[in-house]
């Protein structure tokens, strides 16, 4: 904290910029009458965005979460794609992108010699961040689907070069299957099966966190042995990026191909909901240039009280990951999905969420991680495992405070966020590496103000500042400090 405050005082420019942005946002808020509305579901049901979101995309409120748990269905004829009263212009595709100005800084890079030895690296530019094409809805009653496509873009993405296309989500979900096994009533949503590629039901959704595009949740993306650099920082070869290789799952939040059995049930005793999700995933982690064929299993269960636990009520939950990650390419073929040598890893987490007055949400998760020593070769694939390897064990977590006042400065549409992430290594996968190598501390502050131009689009002024440090990851063993500041527009239609 002291180091962070010193950096803030040294970077008065950033602090002043944040203050000016807050001032501009306040002034702007005085002008703009309120309106949220958007993508496909808003058009389909003629809903404002704040019917499902808090107060706008991407975070879901209680109603929106239940709608999602029910396979994007309200349980009425309005759901059907052939419903005669459906808005004539409904088409189930939405787009999202973020544009603005971003600056990032690395310090204590540990350059050995020359004029830049020990200096900072700073870069900033106007630009954009990603383009999502989203399509969610139902194909027929109790058959829902989801698609997200990120096209490859030749234009530079905040000066990090051209992006690659990806399909993070592509799935079909069959809902209300309990009717066929003798349990549950119509529309009880207790037994649902999803197949395809999708974001796992993490303790708290990464994809729907407002900071996801700039500051992902650390514990979902931490890999023991490597310096955490936040997914949005460009590669920095002056950082001692990898102390030892680790073939474990590199990201818990990325869309995973698999099958899910999930359900939700209202629990009258607690005036809340019980939710569960059981998954079997193909571990497509690449080894060399071959995708793997390991499997791992993931489960998550929550129980809420006096509400869903995001806007009203409280919620507790636990999650577990267990499975294999491949370590060897298959010498018999060059086909994908054939890497072998699966070795064990597991994670276990607990999570909790509490709310206050329908406008404050305090939540967080704690995770314990273990990667088998067999996952630690010297470098890359098929390498000889290091002599002094041992299980890599780390603990981590985050706590986040979201505040969405119904009205501030006389206007609606505000969201403020603070999150603290940390990772502490309990045991390195290589005995020769110092125990606290790679420990992470990260702070992020964010403000978001939703204004609009029509009843079918949604746009927010988004400002975010992230400060993080990773222990002993500089070239000369010093800590690496990273900072990111972004301000711009996040819009969807």
């Amino acid at each position: 904290m002291i180091r962070m405050m010193r950096f803030l005082s040294e970077r008065r420019t950033v602090v002043v910029a944040l203050g000016l942005v807050a001032l501009v946002s306040y002034e702007w808020s005085a002008l703009a009458p309120k309106a949220n509305a958007i993508p496909a579901f808003a058009r389909k049901y003629n809903f404002a965005c704040n019917v499902c979101h808090v107060p706008g995309f991407p975070k879901l409120n209680d109603f929106g979460n239940v709608f999602r748990d029910h396979g994007f269905q309200l349980g009425s004829d309005n759901d059907l794609p052939e419903f005669e009263g459906i808005q004539m212009g409904y088409w189930p595709v939405s787009l999202r992108s973020t544009v603005g100005y971003r600056t990032i800084t690395y310090s204590q890079n540990g350059a050995v010699s020359g004029p830049q030895a020990g200096g900072d690296v700073t870069t900033g530019s106007f630009g954009f961040k990603t383009l999502n094409l989203l399509s969610y809805g139902i194909l027929a009653k109790n058959v829902s689907f989801g698609l997200i496509y990120n096209p490859a873009l030749q234009s530079a993405n905040f000066q990090t070069g051209a992006s690659q296309g990806d399909l993070p989500n592509a799935f079909v979900r069959l809902n209300n299957l309990e009717r066929f096994v003798g349990g549950g009533t119509q529309n009880s949503y207790l037994l649902n099966v999803k197949v395809g590629k999708y974001e796992p039901e993490l303790p708290f959704s990464a994809f729907r966190n407002p900071t996801q595009l700039n500051t992902p949740i650390v514990i979902y993306n931490y890999q023991a042995g490597s310096a955490y650099a936040s997914a949005n920082f460009p590669n920095n070869n002056r950082v001692n990026a990898t102390a030892y290789s680790n073939n474990t799952l590199s990201s818990l939040q990325r869309g995973q191909p698999g099958i899910e059995v999930a359900g939700i049930k209202e629990t009258k005793a607690t005036h809340g909901y019980f939710r569960y999700s059981l998954n079997a995933f193909s571990n497509s982690q690449a080894v060399g240039n071959q995708g793997g064929r390991g499997y791992y299993f993931y489960g998550h269960a929550t129980q809420s009280f006096d509400g869903y636990g995001i806007v009203s009520g409280h919620r507790v939950g636990m999650s577990g990951w267990f499975g294999d990650a491949p370590t060897q390419t298959n010498s018999l073929t060059t086909s994908q999905g054939t890497a072998t040598g699966g070795q064990k890893f597991y994670r276990f987490s607990v999570d909790a969420s509490t709310t206050y007055d329908g406008q404050v949400n305090l939540f967080g998760a704690y995770i314990h991680a273990n990667d088998s020593s067999e996952l630690m070769p010297t470098t890359g694939a098929n390498a000889t495992p290091i002599q002094n390897r041992q299980d890599a064990i780390w603990n981590g977590g985050f706590v986040e405070l979201d505040w969405y006042p119904p009205q501030l400065f006389g206007t609606t549409g505000w969201l403020f966020l603070y999150r603290y992430d940390l990772v502490r290594n309990e045991q390195q996968g290589n005995r020769a590496v110092r125990g606290d190598y790679g420990n992470v501390d990260s702070h992020v502050w964010m403000s978001r103000y939703f204004f609009h131009f029509s009843s079918r689009t949604d746009i927010a002024w988004h400002t975010e500042y992230n400060w993080f440090s990773t222990r002993a990851t500089g070239n000369n063993g010093q800590d690496t400090i990273g900072q990111m500041f972004f301000t711009g527009f996040d819009f969807a239609l």
């Binding site: 702007w28 009458p33 404002a48 019917v51 212009g89 006389g410 609606t412 009843s455």
Partner: protein
């Protein structure tokens, strides 16, 4: 680069501040409840000042207090019709057929409570209202807005119409400030006879999205039109100019004459209007 960005923000802040001086935040002022029926769990009618809204200052713009019987409010309320917008793609939309803005139960409630509230309203007070009902999707739909009388026109500001609301904070906000739109214009007012949409003056605020609909209603003309049984209910026209049915019931000749006499005795119509309308009724008879 960072100094350049700071300069841009500084200039933007100064520019917006200049614009904002003409458009301060809309915070409601004191609120009064004037009858037991006016405050129920799912609907209300209140008196509320809005000092920062156009016309809200104590400049004598509002001709309050104003007395109109509950039965005379019925044709006025029934004459208000809306059309839901159906968006095709992002940049254009089509309109659904016009439908009454208020259900018969809402007309009955508002006719009584608006009559009481306007009779107690001060010259700087709006008469605001909020109505909630369960929607087809199972979530609460809210209709909120406010009224005032200016000259011989009743003005209705319809901020939200059947707007689905799931967040408790949004429900509380619309209940506290019924003139705040929760969403952009997802509906249009179908302008009928003796009605006129009030256009906002161009301001910096209008660059950032629409403001609530405001409808000016010549209530005397609406009442006069409701008297003649052969004309039937007050009609409005859709986009194609075709008349659509309103909500007033037909009257017999005796009832029409009695109503006409009452409107004259209450000063709601002039003697000249009375004589012309009476002659029309008798000619039909």
């Amino acid at each position: 680069m960072s100094q350049f960005v700071l300069l841009l923000f500084l200039l933007a802040g100064i520019w917006l501040h200049q614009g904002c001086s003409a458009a301060p935040p809309h915070e409601p002022g004191p609120t009064r409840i004037v009858c037991g029926l006016c405050e129920e769990t799912d609907r209300f009618v209140r008196l509320q000042s809005h000092p920062n809204r156009p016309g809200g200052e104590a400049s004598g713009r509002f001709a309050h207090p104003f007395r109109l019987s509950s039965e005379d409010w019925i044709p006025v309320l029934a004459s208000i019709q809306v059309q839901t917008r159906a968006a095709a793609l992002v940049f254009f939309s089509t309109k659904q057929p016009a439908a009454p803005a208020f259900s018969p139960a809402e007309v009955e409630y508002l006719s009584v409570t608006l009559s009481k509230a306007f009779a107690e309203a001060g010259p700087e007070e709006w008469v605001v209202f909020g109505l909630s009902q369960p929607g087809a999707s199972g979530i609460t739909e809210m209709t909120t807005g406010g009224w005032f009388l200016e000259g011989s026109n009743l003005h209705l500001v319809l901020a939200n119409h059947r707007c689905p609301v799931s967040m408790p904070g949004v429900r509380d906000l619309l209940a506290r400030d019924p003139l705040t739109p929760n969403t952009g214009r997802a509906f249009d007012l179908a302008v009928g006879p003796h009605q006129q949409v009030v256009k906002d003056a161009e301001t910096l605020a209008s660059l950032f999205g629409p403001t609530p609909w405001e409808l000016a209603i010549d209530y005397r003309a609406v009442l006069l039109a409701s008297v003649a049984p052969s004309e039937g209910p007050a009609k409005v026209r859709d986009e194609g100019g075709e008349p659509q049915a309103g909500g007033s019931k037909k009257l017999s000749i005796e009832e029409s004459l009695a109503l006409l006499k009452r409107l004259r005795d209450q000063g709601l119509i002039t003697d000249a209007d009375y004589d012309v309308k009476k002659k029309q009724l008798l000619d039909r008879f």
